[in-house]
Symmetry: C2
Subunit: 340 residues, 2 copies
Amino acid sequence: MSGIQEIACATGLSKSTVSRALRGLPGVAAPTIAAVRRVAEEVGYVPSSAAAGLATGRQRAIGVVVPVIDRWFYVKTLEGVDAELRRDGYDLVLYSLGGGSSDRERAFHRSMLRRRIDALVLLSLVFDESEREQLELTEYPMVVVGGPAPGVRHIGIDDRGAARLATTHLLDLGHRDVAYIGGQDEAGMNVAVPYLRRDGFRDTMRASGIEPAEDRMLDGGFSYRGGYGAMRRLLQRRPVPTAVFAASDEMALGAITALAEASLRVPEDVSVIAIDGHEHGAVVGLTTVAQDPSEQGRTAARALLDELGGAQPMSAFAPAAARLVVRSSTGPPARLPGVF
Amino acid sequence: MSGIQEIACATGLSKSTVSRALRGLPGVAAPTIAAVRRVAEEVGYVPSSAAAGLATGRQRAIGVVVPVIDRWFYVKTLEGVDAELRRDGYDLVLYSLGGGSSDRERAFHRSMLRRRIDALVLLSLVFDESEREQLELTEYPMVVVGGPAPGVRHIGIDDRGAARLATTHLLDLGHRDVAYIGGQDEAGMNVAVPYLRRDGFRDTMRASGIEPAEDRMLDGGFSYRGGYGAMRRLLQRRPVPTAVFAASDEMALGAITALAEASLRVPEDVSVIAIDGHEHGAVVGLTTVAQDPSEQGRTAARALLDELGGAQPMSAFAPAAARLVVRSSTGPPARLPGVF
DNA sequence: GTGAAAGCGCTAACAT
DNA sequence: ATGTTAGCGCTTTCAC
């Protein structure tokens, strides 16, 4: 004998009363509640989420699907989701697709989630038609954070607008020769995001009458290493641009490292700007268009929690804020274009 | 009607046979299995982990407790745990203590885990007596990854030995004036780790007849920002040491940034070495004593999984490998001590 | 304010 | 090879 029954016996009450007392439901005498609590503590009672889940159909857990764990954006968003869930006593089940597309199919199969959760947060994922179908079949309330996904509500910044903000800042400072470091994240990140940021850059440049040259658009793979490599390639060609816009802070950090190694000063020789708001950026004074993935995670979790609580589902798109944070990595071009 | 029963009706079989067929148990005719599978697919059957869990007492999930998510070591370890769990079809429930000590107590209360999991991985945590007690009461098989914890088995590198390795490398190169950047992680990291690394450094120096001065031991808070700040403080005093040993790669990366900003060359002016094996370190050529937290995570998960499968519990301590990776951030002191 | 009883969807003996 | 039965620990009517 264990569980709620044990307390029932010990107190001489019935299972129902114990259950009610434990959950703080109305209609239980105060002294009864106290007695139940005391005994529960005494016998070391631990509720069974499985039993409760079976009985109610609610698991009090929500799932988070990530392409890989190992990225600033995912980690931060996860943190936000977690914080919000904790407030409501929900658990967080983490489903990582682990990069490779091999495991991926399995993860998306509807039966993989096994009704262990009540709702789903999808982080910056892009899925194909069959994956979407599987997801629909699960019938979980869900929301994606990070990039637009066809047919699913999402939360995220205006990526194109963020890129415009960054580019305009550079243009306003007087830069004309600016390179763009973008590319695709190799690990399942939403493909739309890189494109939107790139287009934001290109369109803004064009609107100023500047057509970005092919060799000013580099692939930095959305990683520190990629940004470093892209900058080194940039440094091998003359002229070196007076400014660099990296589509993510991590790439910008890599670029700054390459710049420092080449003894070029930021921003005197080359200005650097990016998008994200990575903590490391603040340390080196990186100017950036900062977003708050943690808050996006909280928003997503809150929306789902509210919906589970019976509230109206949120609308198809919840914009997240992104704002220009000017620090010391950007300044007016201090040298004539083409000095080196 | 739903679940297994629905398939039973549709096929004219009994629940047990369906259950057996679905789980691939022996003693079911091949055509029966096929029929069950087909119908299951047809009706979009999704197993209920709650029901299975209730019936078997196994949740097929394991919990991972982290102080905060937001750290290289935790993320990497989490990745390893996840990879191993996925192989066995186990789910991963993430419990983050969220830094602050306010929420912390709740997370550690035994009832917080609600029998949702079968075992527990504790990441680099240090807990007080009452927390340990709560954990013991849960009776979950558990293992900690990252630092020694009194009374709980653990997996981790020999921190003192790793520090010795790093220090010896510097000494062998001819360095005599070396600074140490360590400190405590503010967010619940195992306190023993910083101490062990520091002691490893100090003891190795002493063994070479060098007593590290008080002002050569800095606090870098185990963060990028902290390492950056510590290096800047170091640069304000003369002489600047010929080498710096940071207790973590993240701090070393911060230090290197500060060095680059001050136009000092690595390793010509100052050598830098650290411990961890962070990917960013490889990009800038950071010499380090690399560990593999992802593998530690896999090892932990495997041990738990095996134990759940009936195998003998692993021993009290499973050492993890750490090896010196010499890259370009260390070299012989190229200037006389005290030039600046 | 409290109790009795039915069931949530599955598994695991124990039959047949 | 398949069916029957009895729970797993909780919640939830419905009675009292």
